[in-house]
Assembly symmetry: C2
Homo-oligomer: 350 residues x 2
């Protein structure tokens, strides 16, 4: 994302102060000015404009899907993204991998007293652009201010509503032995990019977050006719956490093929340097899918036809073994168990 995408959407800002004051959260005049002059014009749409305590939305046909996410990433801006677009894509992606068309978002901001208005504007512009790109309006919101030291600059909670697709019937209970495990591209880029930005590590210029909206890619996959059993975006805890969640719920093991794991050279180098495993690191623009063996080829072809899936690959399969394990097979046929770290955390990467 270039710096031009942070151009404020509100051409004539009127908020006098150059930083957030406690009174901006008091519900009175300054709150209304902040909301009207900094937020409403950036997100303008007919549902939000009445500025009531809620939004009234048209009827949705069939089942609806609801998801919520807090974004607490630090730093707020990192190579490839920022907390604003990340908060939008988090909700969009949770809806998409749940087999829903994203329809509406709500936006709750918690601001720390002293946050610069310029920073807020850049984040708001990015939220606005991300929501517009996804075609999903921000229909209602809330803004709170807490005193200095009671929060770290800015937290965002996005909640999304979607319409359940009729052409998808995925779910862990549909997973079968010999099903293939697919990922839409390289692993670990987001977590490593945030970590290097926060710690000031020089891990190479090409370490860039993969933060992106997945709804189009999911469309592409579902429209390919592939038999999709399960979809998830492997964020916190990485691919390993999603796979452990899967095996905990059913009595199959998962075998991953180490040689096929897509990891960029720069991410591989960073992992070696830091002693991390890319399987455990957060992604913010990757789709993990379990697909029937016979349609896996069609699924890969469909994913590769989309820019976000150009490096899609089969990384493993469901093994016909009752042990609930995630196993990694190296190029010499040696097998090791992929455990989950319960310490050594990578905090605040989303």
């Amino acid at each position: 994302m270039t710096s031009s995408s942070f151009t404020p959407q509100c051409p004539v800002p009127h908020v006098e102060s150059d930083s957030i004051q406690l009174a901006h959260g008091e519900g009175a005049r300054l709150t209304r000015r902040l909301i009207r002059e900094e937020l409403l014009c950036a997100f303008a749409n007919p549902f939000l404009s009445p500025l009531a305590d809620s939004a009234t939305l048209p009827a949705v046909e069939g089942p609806i899907v609801m998801t919520t996410d807090s974004s607490v990433v630090s730093p707020l801006f990192f190579p490839g993204g920022n907390i604003g677009s990340l908060a939008v894509y988090s909700a969009i992606n949770d809806l998409a991998v749940s087999g829903a068309f994203p329809l509406y978002l709500s936006l709750a901001l918690i601001l720390e007293e002293g946050l610069s208005i310029d920073t807020l504007r850049r984040v708001v512009a990015s939220i606005s652009e991300a929501a517009r790109t996804c075609g999903v309006p921000i229909v209602t919101g809330d803004t709170k201010v807490v005193p200095r030291g009671a929060a770290d600059k800015l937290f965002i909670c996005t909640t999304g509503i979607g319409r359940q697709r009729k052409d998808v019937d995925a779910g862990v209970q549909r997973v079968r032995p010999s099903d293939k495990i697919l990922i839409s591209g390289t692993m670990g880029d987001h977590g490593l990019a945030v970590l290097s930005a926060r710690e000031g590590l020089d891990l190479g210029d090409n370490l860039i977050s993969d933060s992106a909206p997945l709804h189009d890619l999911v469309d592409r996959l579902l429209e390919s006719g592939a038999e999709v059993r399960f979809m998830r975006d492997p964020t916190r805890g990485g691919v390993a956490a999603v796979l452990h969640e899967l095996v905990e719920q059913f009595s199959f093991a998962i075998r991953l093929d180490e040689a096929s794991l897509p990891i960029s050279p720069v991410a591989r180098g960073a992992c070696e340097l830091l002693g991390l495993d890319a399987l455990h690191i957060a992604n913010e623009g990757k789709l993990l899918a379990v697909v029937s063996e016979k349609t896996a080829g069609a699924a890969i072809e469909a994913l590769r036809g989309h820019p976000l899936g150009a490096h899609a690959t089969i990384i493993g399969e469901i093994a016909d073994s009752p042990s609930a394990e995630v196993l990694l097979v190296n190029r010499f046929g040696q097998v090791r168990n992929i455990d989950e770290p319960s310490g050594a955390p990578l905090p605040r990467i989303c």
Copy 2:
């Protein structure tokens, strides 16, 4: 609410630590244990139980209403409530005053490293009880952990979905001169209770938050046949902020009758001591409504028939004056302008 209502809902907690660790937010095993053992059992319902990244909900007939709120109140526990029940009622009340039947809630928690598990359990038990009392399930959620000092203990974001009622057609554009302004009870109790708890002020034992869900009271009002033009729950900024928001949007003034303003003796004393005006102080369980003159009596009668509306009263009317002012008339007929404070804030009362 008695202390017994904080009894944990999960009888055999297994989380080993007595406080929240960063790893509880990492998305891996400790996150799943925290969610399964502390949250899922407290909120158990068929929508939440699959623990996917979203909830799939039955079709809703007609327009849907969406609202979102962050709760950042300090202290977490105060006379008459706590951040958990407050977060639930905030969403319920925003839906109710928007003319919607509350259906579903999502819950996003931001936890500070070091938060005691016992505190979390008490808040979770209160969320669970409040949601059950309102008959509204928590269908999806998110839990993040930030390092010590990056948040103040615990923030909650609740988002609510409701079904638009067919029997209500309220909106600021329907307000007319001579319409009456009603409030369902005393003003300022919540803000004063939180302030006195936080600052350790001894303002009298009876200073108790009015935190409560308003959906039943709104039902009662709407079913009375009263011509309701506008409803709002006067939270941050108090009754004055809601009325200023009203007059900013249309070209009438509002005249309040000072003698009729319901303020409890203890709140009146606290306001005098602290130099505050109850009109500016947050409420968390009061309904402000604008009702046609000819149905105002029926509206008051309906409200008084409900425990939360026992002290409902008419506090003023819409004046046939083009000046967008909120005026207060005292018992001698003297008129003064109720302005809004833009400094002197009461932060973190909700």
